[in-house]
């Protein structure tokens, strides 16, 4: 039962208000993509024990999608940010590095 702050409406939303949408920053592959790239887009997802970037929707609130950076091991939330971003913003990465100096995980 996580609590994530919706960056759109500002609510500290209980997990029951939210719908999870899996890994964030997946690049859509269109009709020109190779079989391998398309397969990766459809099916290959990271499952790290540690820092992870996820998509969430404030489904029973403002209805907006957003991204969350959190630790899957300790449930620490580094921050939530707008879904209209191709990469995690710098302030999120700074915060992660501060809290997890050893973090070498691949950037999305």
């Amino acid at each position: 039962m996580l609590i994530l702050t919706c960056p759109c409406c500002g609510a500290e939303a209980d997990e029951t208000e939210l719908a999870s949408g899996g890994e964030a920053h997946i690049q859509r592959q269109g009709p020109e993509s190779t079989d391998a790239a398309f397969e990766a887009y459809l099916f290959q997802r990271k499952n790290p024990s540690g820092v992870h970037f996820e998509r969430w929707r404030h489904a029973f609130g403002c209805g907006k999608w957003f991204h969350a950076a959190r630790c899957t091991r300790t449930l620490e939330v580094f921050g939530t940010y707008t879904a209209q971003s191709l990469k995690p913003p710098k302030w999120i990465l700074d915060r992660i590095r501060k809290r997890r100096p050893d973090w070498a995980g691949p950037l999305p």
Partner: protein, 1012 residues
């Protein structure tokens, strides 16, 4: 005989006797008793039978950790199984029965398994799975199923009600002993909102029983003052009878509040039986105390053997003596409190066996001072008696138990040290560390369960943190309370300083440094070890753990599962640490290296009723209803659930069968005119400069070229290329479209649109609104439909003015409407959309307008049959999430020219283009009267490698068609369209096979839509 002492019992009211039934025997207790204390007062030590060997078992604890005394409470619908007698508050007229025996508690046939104990050793279940294979099914499983199982669930619906309660607090304090109360006061002083939850009816924890004084006051007096002080404060709430059961992510906690009731067999209309607290706490102070451990010695499960602390509780709290000649056996000082308390109550102490060679301290001095016989370096070798204690043999604690001396006694109290109640620390990832000095697992402060900010969210304090000496508790608890408040964002010192909750000092009557011995005597022979129980409820003995180790189950997690240690309903509250001790000893390791299994919620069992709360019956899931719902209900609607909605399946007339009603509705619509409430259809408005571009991506067909005033059928796929929805799209304006979705798809498809707009194409200027409930939709369908329309208003509905797939705005029956000429039945059909509030009025006017033409409403089944007659697909019937438009022969609705749409790339994958895919066909049974079962599979007579029949297709829709007077079916068949005219077989029940010819899916009028 009565074991009620002539004096004492701080919790009972001797003025209020309560009658209750135990196994249909009438007994009496007092107000304030638990069922367990009342049973003991009536000299009823035998309280149950164990799970595996059906050994007679007695009450061994005085709290929720009780493994043995599980009872069935009440009878009939209110009956509740598996309650611990130690936590059941006695009530007048209470009925309790013991469990897990046949025919009676005193004489149990199942106890014969005890003589076969060697056969039922650790891993017994697993071994029965292995060999011989048939024995499991025919011998072991029936036997185990008959003999296992505890209480009996009631068969009728629960007459009580339950509720959920949500609470948001800064600091949750679990436990109301000295530690909890002091911490709560300190947190509140700092300005935090505090909730204190206590599992028992009374506050104070063990302090009042254990002779602790606080600031010179007896603990019970100090606690009364402190609770009164806390309850008076605005920032603090204090609740008893509420057990915290689990700690989850980010401070989510749930607790169950039990509400006592005067009469167990009557439900209380005015109040819930139980209340599930769903708490969000920023910080949790874990002041949960500790649970005493048994000692492992032969016969330690004979009724009359009890934890020393429990015996003390029964004497001090309830004025009950557990025997009149009591042997005390201990590895630490705390059992001396019991010895002196019992002696003061006039109970004979037959001897104190202290396994330590040379113990010393004030507790021993006091025991010796009152003349008790303390024998050091001694332990129990074995307990005599089967259904009750007759005596013990005493032996040197370091020996093998060979040289013994007999002591006559009728009760044994034991103490193997204390295990801090660290469950809540562990629930959400907090780690434990073995403390060899104190002999217990303690919260590892460096590895706490963390909250959203990465900071620890649980702070252990008091005995739960290993602080066994009360004198250390006040300072520790003040620090814990302040720290919890600080982490929750309260640094202030608002409010008054309360002297009541900030004691200067507390004094303990006993220190408790155990000398560990996992089995006594330490060198015990196998004959003793095989009768020394670790887990009472699951009958796990010392030798079972040793066997698991020998057979290779050495990891603590494996040994637990192999032996079932700690897996009973008490979750090993008494047995875990002793079991781990034996495991470590057997492997010659330290406990720190063996580790412990993880505690998981719930701390104590809870009822399904509490979990469900009010979410049952009509409140389980709200039903969506159209504005015409009441009319349908008044006119014979036979309901069916359609997604969240209820819709009339058909309308039953007097004496009519469902089948007859469906056929009547179909024929009436095909021959005259029918009326359909289609309001549940999803209606999503898509608007903005990029709306056409957006819909071109969402639908497989091209929507941007749709002209205003026209409609187009559209298919939606996911990125896997599979169909997810279909519907008619109408272009309302240059930048505005109305997208119809399936009834079940309105919310899902609206969310789907928003997901793509928000997360992929966020620069596109598109606005979506789900208008499903703002408008009703009414279908007027059949040869006479045009006449009805002409009577309802002045919209020109001629073929020239309103062609098939046209739509127009206008006025009908006095209401503004949007009129679509679209058809899902092949008949001439108009669908009228108008504001929901006008729906019922329009519906009745349409019925009046068509009355002389024979207009009748029709339900969803007639709708389904008529669409199947025309070979129209239905999302969810012909599709199941693995079907593409191409599989259904809908290539005409898929644009080949568009550069991209959702699903396009996937539809180019090789396996979606394989020639042997199952594709849509019609199925005409050879016997026209035989209706294929929905979902039936076709086989080709060959076998798969695993022996299963090779399936080559399945039925997706199947009906009786009254229009063409034969059965019709749609199905997906391997290479179906290439096999027209072939006959395939569908094996159905009882060996029958229905044979059907593969035909075109359009059964009615190959010129589809011509008359629409």
């Amino acid at each position: 005989m009565s074991r009620r002492l002539s004096e004492g019992g701080r919790l009972i009211d001797r003025e209020v006797p309560l009658g209750f039934l135990w196994n249909n025997r009438r007994l009496t207790g007092f107000r304030g008793d638990t069922l367990a204390s009342a049973l003991l007062a009536n000299d009823q030590q035998l309280a149950g039978r164990s799970f595996k060997y059906h050994r007679p078992r007695g009450i061994v604890t005085a709290g929720p950790e009780e493994p043995n005394a599980l009872v069935q409470l009440g009878h009939g619908a209110s009956s509740e199984p598996n309650l611990r007698a130690t936590t059941v508050e006695l009530a007048d007229g209470l009925r309790a029965t013991s469990q897990n025996h046949w025919p009676s508690l005193e004489f149990d046939i199942g106890a014969a398994t005890g003589y076969l104990a060697p056969l039922f050793a650790a891993g017994f279940y697993y071994k029965t799975f292995m060999w011989p294979r048939v024995a499991w099914k025919h011998v072991f499983e029936p036997l185990i199923r008959r003999s296992a199982g505890l209480g009996i669930p009631p068969t009728q619906p629960d007459p009580d009600h339950y509720e959920h309660y949500h609470a948001h607090v800064d600091v949750l304090v679990v436990g109301s002993g000295i530690a909890g109360l002091v911490a709560a006061g300190a947190a509140a002083d700092a300005g935090a909102r505090v909730l204190v939850l206590e599992q028992n009816p009374e506050f104070g924890g063990r302090a009042p029983v254990d002779g602790i004084t606080v600031d010179g006051l007896a603990a019970s007096e100090w606690i009364d003052d402190c609770v009164a002080d806390l309850a008076w404060r605005d920032l603090v709430r204090v609740r008893n009878r509420t057990t915290v059961l689990g700690v989850y992510d980010h401070g989510y906690v749930f607790a169950c509040e039990h509400r006592p009731r005067p009469n167990m067999d009557k439900s209380r209309a005015d109040a819930p039986r139980q209340r599930l607290w769903r708490i969000r706490a920023r910080q949790i102070v874990m002041a949960t105390g500790a649970i005493e451990r048994p000692l492992a010695f032969a016969g330690n499960d004979v009724p009359g053997v009890m934890l020393a602390s429990a015996a003390r509780d029964y004497a001090v709290n309830f004025g009950v003596g557990i025997g009149d000649r009591v042997v005390v056996v201990t590895n630490n000082d705390s059992a001396y409190l019991t010895a002196t308390a019992l002696a003061e109550a006039g109970i004979g102490i037959a001897g104190i066996l202290d396994i330590r060679e040379s113990p010393a301290g004030p507790a021993l001095d006091r025991a010796r001072a009152v003349g008790l016989d303390v024998r050091t370096g001694m332990s129990v070798a074995s307990v005599f008696g089967r259904r009750q204690v007759l005596g013990v043999s005493a032996t040197a604690s370091n020996g093998d138990g060979a040289r013994t001396e007999r002591i006559v006694a009728n009760a044994v109290v034991m103490s193997g040290g204390w295990s801090p109640s660290v469950h809540l620390w562990s629930h959400c990832g907090g780690k434990l560390a073995w403390d060899a000095n104190r002999g217990c697992f303690l919260p590892d402060a460096d590895r706490p369960p963390a909250g959203a900010d990465g900071v620890g969210m649980v702070i252990p304090v008091g005995a739960a943190n290993g602080t066994m000496d009360a004198s250390g508790i006040p300072d520790e608890a003040v620090r814990a309370g302040r720290e919890a408040a600080r982490r929750a964002g309260h640094r202030g010192r608002r409010g008054r300083q309360s002297s009541a909750s900030h004691p200067a000092q507390a004094e303990d009557a006993a220190e408790s440094q155990p000398e560990l011995a996992w089995m006594v005597p330490r060198q015990a022979k196998r004959s003793l070890r095989s009768r020394a129980f670790l887990d009472y409820q699951n009958d796990v003995k010392v030798t079972d753990i040793e066997l698991a180790v020998r057979e290779g189950f050495q990891s603590v997690e494996h040994a637990k599962r192999y032996t079932t240690l700690g897996m009973a309903t008490d979750q090993g509250k008494l047995s875990n640490v002793n079991g781990i001790g034996i495991l470590a000893t057997s492997m010659g390791q330290e406990i720190a290296g063996v580790g412990t299994t993880t505690f998981r919620p719930p701390y104590t069992p809870l009822t399904l009723g509490a979990i469900a709360g009010e979410a049952h019956g009509p409140l389980f899931k709200p039903v969506r209803k159209t504005p015409m719902d009441g009319w349908h209900d008044d006119h014979g609607a036979h309901w069916e659930p359609v997604a969240d909605w209820r819709r009339p399946y058909c309308y039953l007339r007097d004496g009519e069968t469902v089948k007859a009603a469906i056929n009547r509705e179909i024929l009436n619509t095909r021959r005259r005119v029918g009326l359909l409430d289609a309001s549940t259809l999803g209606k999503i408005l898509v608007s903005g400069p990029d709306s056409g571009r957006f819909l071109d991506m969402l639908y497989t067909g091209r929507m941007s070229t749709l002209r205003q005033g026209r409609c187009r059928y559209g298919l939606m796929c996911n990125e896997n290329g599979f169909l997810i929805d279909d519907g008619v799209i109408a272009r309302l304006g240059e930048e505005t479209f109305l997208c119809h979705t399936t009834s079940g798809g309105s919310d899902r498809i609206h969310a789907w649109m928003e997901e793509w707009l928000q997360t992929e194409w966020w620069t596109w200027k598109v606005w979506t609104v789900n208008l499903t409930e703002q408008f009703v939709q009414v279908g007027i369908v059949g040869p006479e439909a045009r006449t009805v329309m002409e009577r309802l208003g002045n919209i020109d509905v001629s073929d020239e003015a309103l062609r098939f797939m046209d739509h127009v705005d206008g006025e009908l029956a006095g209401f503004p409407v949007r009129l679509f000429r679209i058809s899902f039945s092949g008949e001439l059909s108009y669908e009228i959309q108008l504001p929901a509030a006008a729906g019922l009025e329009f519906w009745t006017q349409a019925l009046e307008a068509g009355a002389d033409l024979g207009i009748q409403p029709y339900g969803t089944e007639a709708l389904h049959v008529m669409r199947a007659e025309k070979g129209f697909i239905m999302i969810g019937d012909e599709t199941d999430g693995t079907v593409t438009p191409q599989d259904l022969g809908l290539d005409w609705a898929v644009s080949r020219l568009k550069s991209d749409y959702l699903g396009k790339r996937a539809q180019a994958r090789s396996y979606l283009n394989a020639p042997d895919r199952w594709r849509l066909v019609g199925l005409a049974t050879e016997d026209p009267n035989a209706v294929l079962p929905d979902g039936a599979y076709a086989t080709d007579g060959s076998r798969q490698q695993d022996g299963g029949k090779t399936m080559i297709g399945r039925v997706t829709s199947s009906y009786w068609s009254p229009t063409i007077n034969r059965s019709i079916a749609l199905g997906l068949v391997e290479r179906g369209p290439d096999r027209m005219g072939e006959v395939i077989g569908f094996p159905v029940e009882s060996g029958r096979t229905i044979r059907a010819k593969i035909v075109d899916p359009v059964f009615l009028g190959q010129d589809a839509g011509a008359n629409a």
